[in-house]
Symmetry: C2
Subunit: 342 residues, 2 copies
DNA sequence: GTAATCATTTAGATCGATCTAAACGCACAG
DNA sequence: CTGTGCGTTTAGATCGATCTAAATGATTAC
């Protein structure tokens, strides 16, 4: 029992192989009667289209490579879900790879994907990705969309978000509550998203005529933030409010503060970033700057589709706005409980 | 500027196309000197292997299809990460699809993956998947591994976990704390994982000579569990402990109880399932039955590799144990605060 | 010196689709 | 009746690898 090929279908339907090929490709050239005959034959024989063979002759493989730095972070998982939903609708299969923030591994994946003949690439670049990475894709003629992070000094389509408005609202809210000693907890990995958020923090502080109390880099895990809480709170100039680069850090710190008996929103105000589902579950709720990773993913996929359509079109980008979601973890500054006077 | 083919490489290295082909496939038949020459030529010309062409002649496509019911659930995302890590090491690319718990969509994906000529399939079957689904895969000769869920009355390799020991420990812990009125919150989707956990709950209760106080199905979201808290606590026979089918429900309920001023671990004991990272962040920590989705994913991938190696080998399965992680959300039963005497 | 063995290498057919360019059938104008 | 145009269909070459089976050359055996 051999594989059913297009030739078998053609014979069974009494047409030529070429005609059968036109039918599977939904060509308008073929007559309605013939199409019906061929489709019947396909159903009867249980024909399965062979994309591998197709891709050899045609250029397209109906396949897109997606490289994500860390699948276990729900934020990226949701981004991926957004990407997948759009590509799926467009009839494109997603070839997935997890770079684990490893640029070398990422290079390997791109090679593998070239071997697979992907029609395009969506990448959230791992830390330390070099310019060459993006340039090469251009040289090879593989449409590339960067998402959430952008390799410095590179030009490609980009789907991301703008932390500025949300950060501004967050700082304004804190300032409105009387906070003046505001610290920032960053990640210890360096990429454009880190820079972007940190810069928007500086800008917002500037606009409020304040200087950041500190910028503290931490490994982006719940545990490291939780462990860092005592150190952050025992500084000589104790912060009255802290903004975190993401909710992983925000939630970890939330718990770390609770461990110390320091109540977020009462004893110190706390703001996260990403507004993950869990931010609304802790007590008090973690205020957070909201972004929609699913939508960013959709945008990235749409940019890629456009690029595949017009490889030489103008470079485009799509930036999602952010906004501040206030919850119990932000409250008025308290002079009383053990705080150092301003 | 045309694509570099194996023939170009062969010419450049002064060997035949066949020899070059042997080199790219790491065949032991080729001499060391020749191999070096060819590899140099490949590097020099910037040759990229064309998997599409290869797969046409050979059987393999170095590609595996993975279908997950819901990417936005971190539990599945981690499962996927585990699968990816093993397949990646084996040099297999992952073609990803998100069924969204939709069996019809899932059928579509399998077709698409057949078109792509995947060498195997790892599926966590969507709710309502029919027997036919698994049988078809067998008929088509596509190696299939089911994971976390198993379509009833089907035979295939399977990587899952056994809730029994963890559930037993959880119930024993609660009973040890004096609890006798124990309720269970299930999902409203029906699949083998739901049944398995519910049955292990019944078994554990039975072993403790207790009857379940109630079994309440809920949509598997934080919000639905949070909203259900008042109803659960205002029942005529008020539970002193509740076990939840997963941590999404557990965390949602945790928050819902806090909203009511009912303190988990003091006023009511609460147990979740999956032990997601966030279970340790809420206050008090959510006790949970732990499973390692990453490991289950790895197991699934390894089973598939074995199956691809030996298509006619014995059907195998790999079951991860579970264990109970006690945290603040479980504590001694309190007769005082508004509880109905046993 | 010839034959047999072994490790390498190769020519040519082949996988299953798509492409190109030409052919076909039919209608209609001249 | 021939020629032109249009919508449909087709033969045959082609994509880039792998397979089979045979050829090659070096080494050892007799």
């Amino acid at each position: 029992m051999k594989r059913v090929t297009l030739l078998d279908v053609a014979k069974h339907a009494g047409v030529s192989r070429a005609t059968a090929s036109l039918v599977v490709r939904d060509s308008p050239l073929v007559g309605a009667a013939t199409r019906a005959k061929v489709e019947a034959a396909m159903a009867e024989l249980g024909y399965v289209y062979n994309l591998g063979a197709a891709r050899m002759r045609a250029a397209r493989s109906r396949t897109v490579g997606v490289i994500i730095p860390n699948l276990t972070n729900p934020f990226f998982a949701v981004l991926l879900a957004g990407i997948e939903s759009i590509l799926e609708t467009a009839g494109l299969a997603v070839i997935l790879a997890n770079s684990n923030e490893n640029a070398a591994k990422q290079d390997g994946f791109v090679n593998r994907m070239r071997e697979h003949g992907v029609d395009g690439l969506i990448v959230c670049p791992a830390e330390g990705t070099e310019r060459r990475f993006v340039d090469d894709a251009g040289k090879w003629g593989v449409p590339l969309v960067q998402t959430l992070r952008m390799v410095p000094e590179t030009a490609s389509d980009y789907a991301g978000m703008d932390p500025t408005p949300g950060m501004r609202e967050a700082v304004d809210c804190l300032v409105g509550f009387g906070h003046r000693r505001i610290g920032y907890v960053a990640t210890d990995t360096h990429h454009s998203a880190r820079t972007e958020r940190l810069e928007s923090f500086h800008a917002a502080m500037n606009a409020a005529n304040l200087a950041p109390l500190f910028v503290r880099p931490l490994e982006s895990t719940h545990m490291s933030a939780r462990m860092a809480a005592p150190e952050l709170m025992s500084r000589p100039a104790r912060p009255t409010a802290i903004i975190c680069h993401n909710d992983v850090l925000g939630l970890g710190l939330h718990r770390g503060l609770c461990d110390l008996g320091v109540m977020p929103g009462r004893d110190v105000s706390l703001v996260g970033f990403d507004n993950v589902a869990e931010a609304d579950l802790v007590m008090p709720g973690l205020a957070s700057v909201a972004t929609e990773p699913f939508v960013v993913g959709e945008n990235a996929a749409r940019l890629l589709l456009r690029r595949m359509d017009a490889p030489d079109g103008q470079i485009a980008s799509s930036i999602e706005e952010t906004y501040f979601v206030q919850r119990g973890s932000c409250g008025p500054v308290r002079m009383a409980a053990g705080t150092v006077p301003a």
